[in-house]
């Protein structure tokens, strides 16, 4: 019956834009592996770990912004809440890597699902403000609940990260853990984006009403995307306090969320590896500038403005990958 239909079983070649993106991504992975060999000093390895972790958070946010058109101003709350949860748990149960990851992923998914559920019926500007409000509620908790979160001072002096009896407190070990999280997070996010649900998410971004009419459950797709982004950002957030040996309320504040968004834009909205590029550029400039001048916040503001005026499509787009065409949001 259907024999003649099966004559065309062939491997479809990957579209060109994936191939170029994959080449660049593969180059980046190589670069990641080479960095520890080139520079052995602790500071740059710690800094590299920080870039990888924040870059992972940016990449997960990019799934929401680029993949789903969901511009969340509360993503730092997801990332930071995972960090706080891991730090607090480490204080009482010790800092075992798998336990920390599970706690961080769970906390990230919890906050992200709250944001996703609360904003189910919102779009555009209302969505933006609502994510901002939920994020600020998390900040209020972190700032006021002194007994648990240390209030304005944040948390210090929690145990060092470990795996069984293996101690993971050297810069190199932290860097490798961060690189592993970055790679796994990137692979998971990329699979999600290319799976049917990721395609459906893009459909929801472009034509929500039409997708609903086709029978897709728009709300479920959105919440699932939030859950995945929360899990990825949560895994990165769980390790973040151990790299910095500190976590404070600034990591859940909405100015951090805005910084994550600008990193996504610098890297290129809709490009997953662009998140890492954006984090690299932004954090590097911030560190450089703040060592030169007290007016570094001024410079940070100028970076925001210059990025939006000069590079609205980001580095990845400039490297030749097609960015997301933004209509009026």
């Amino acid at each position: 019956m259907s024999a003649h239909l099966n004559t065309t079983t062939h491997q479809a070649p990957a579209p060109a834009k994936y191939r170029l993106g994959d080449k660049i991504a593969a180059g980046l992975v190589l670069l990641l592996a080479l960095i520890p060999l080139v520079s052995g000093d602790g500071f740059s390895l710690r800094f590299g770990a920080e870039i990888l972790l924040i870059g992972t958070a940016v990449m997960s946010l990019n799934l929401l912004i680029g993949g789903g058109g969901l511009v969340s101003l509360g993503h730092a709350a997801v990332f930071g809440a995972a960090g706080y949860s891991a730090a607090v748990a480490a204080g009482s149960w010790g800092a075992q890597l798998p336990v920390m990851l599970v706690i961080g992923i769970f906390a990230g998914m919890l906050i992200a699902s709250i944001i996703g559920l609360v904003t189910l019926r919102s779009a555009g500007l209302f969505f933006l403000v609502l994510t901002l409000v939920v994020g600020q509620m998390v900040w209020e908790l972190a700032f006021r609940w002194r007994d648990v979160t240390g209030g304005a001072d944040g948390l210090r002096g929690f145990p060092k990260l470990a795996l069984g009896s293996l101690r993971l407190d050297t810069p190199l070990a932290l860097y490798l853990v961060a690189a592993a999280i970055a790679l796994v997070g990137w692979a998971v996010t990329r699979s999600f984006q290319r799976a049917p649900i990721g395609q459906a998410l893009a459909g929801v971004r472009d034509q929500p009403i039409r997708m609903g009419a086709l029978g897709y459950q728009v709300g479920r797709i959105r919440v699932t995307a939030f859950l995945l982004a929360g899990a990825v950002a949560g895994a990165a957030g769980a390790i973040y306090p151990f790299v910095n040996q500190y976590i404070g309320p600034n990591s859940v504040h909405w100015s951090m969320s805005a910084a994550l968004i600008i990193m996504a834009v610098i890297g290129g909205v809709g490009s997953l590896y662009g998140g890492y590029l954006g984090a690299l550029v932004y954090l590097f400039v911030q560190t450089e500038v703040s060592s030169y001048t007290d007016r570094w916040q001024l410079v940070i503001g100028l970076i925001f403005v210059a990025t939006v005026i000069l590079m609205p499509n980001g580095i990845a787009h400039w490297l030749g990958q097609r960015g997301v065409r933004g209509g009026r949001s």
């Binding site: 511009v71 209302f126 409000v133 939920v134 968004i261 007016r295 503001g301 609205p312 009026r328």
Partner: protein, 289 residues
């Protein structure tokens, strides 16, 4: 009972500040669909202008118009560059641009006015208290309520009952048709931005006697103003007033009952309102597709 009366007056004065600030933000947001996160900076700038104006010994009643004019002038400059080219861009880009600008302004103001909290040297006439049902209540807050009320009425009249206002409202609904009728919408937009910035500055000048002025106030006010506008519904004068009252009262009374988690509670209540009414309290009927 009288204690609650005083708290109600407190809530009312806070609501009036929120209303003035929110009206300015709402004007730009509904008129040009432009998200202006520098609005909090206008508020703080107005506060600093008023404080330094009175501190310099100039006539006090001139401080408020001065704050309006200076903030409006900043708005005019921003409208020329870089706002002008961002009106047709996406909300995301507008948010990033204006957030970056607000960070720049915050740092410039910290540089220019110092990082300490400064408060308004209240003029003689407005110092002191009146007794409301046996409890003291600052005269200055009554002044805020009265001035803000008059201003809001004047603004409502201008938007709702004059040709100018009609042109602005028409721009909100269909810019193309207004352009076809021979009105320069770009100029109307400029007037809108200047008026909004001036209102922000004026709100800050009035508020400086109640909230003082300090680095970081701009962000707090911005968040509250955004909430007021969004919860009220875009482009609705009544909605903005309503949600300013709601937020003012919720904030004031949660400070009375739960001082620790007052902000958490008021944010939560506003979020709940947004969950129930995803497009704000007052919604204009729009076509869906």
């Amino acid at each position: 009972m009288s204690y609650y009366l005083v708290q109600t007056l407190n809530a009312l004065s806070f609501s009036v500040l929120l209303m003035l600030t929110g009206l300015g933000l709402s004007l730009v947001l509904s008129l040009m669909n432009f998200v202006n996160l520098t609005h909090g900076s206008f508020f703080l700038l107005g506060g600093y202008v008023a404080i330094h104006w009175i501190g310099a010994g100039a006539p006090w009643w001139m401080a408020f118009p001065a704050a309006f004019v200076i903030a409006g002038a900043v708005g005019l400059v921003l409208d020329r560059f870089p706002f002008g080219r961002f009106y047709p861009r996406t909300h995301l880009m507008q948010v990033l641009l204006t957030y970056g600008l607000s960070v720049i302004f915050a740092d410039l103001m910290r540089w220019g006015f110092g990082a300490d909290t400064v408060s308004l040297p209240t003029p003689e006439l407005l110092r002191g208290v009146v007794f409301v049902a046996g409890l003291p209540f600052p005269i200055y807050r009554l002044f805020i309520i009265a001035t803000g009320g008059v201003l809001a009425l004047g603004l409502w009249y201008a938007i709702d009952r004059t040709l100018w206002g009609a042109a602005i409202r028409a721009c909100v609904i269909d810019r193309g048709i207004v352009e076809t009728l021979g009105l320069n919408t770009r100029r109307i937009f400029t007037v809108g931005v200047v008026l909004a910035a001036g209102l922000g500055g004026l709100g800050g000048a009035l508020g400086s006697g109640m909230l003082s002025a300090y680095p970081g106030l701009d962000e707090e006010v911005l968040l509250l103003a955004l909430l007021v506008v969004v919860v009220g519904g875009l482009g609705s004068f009544g909605g903005t007033v309503l949600s300013a009252l709601l937020l003012g009262f919720v904030t004031t009374f949660s400070r009375v009952w739960l001082p620790e988690f007052a902000n958490f509670l008021s944010l939560g209540i506003m979020a709940a309102v947004l969950v129930m009414w995803p497009s704000g309290l007052v919604v204009r009927k729009m076509r869906q597709v």
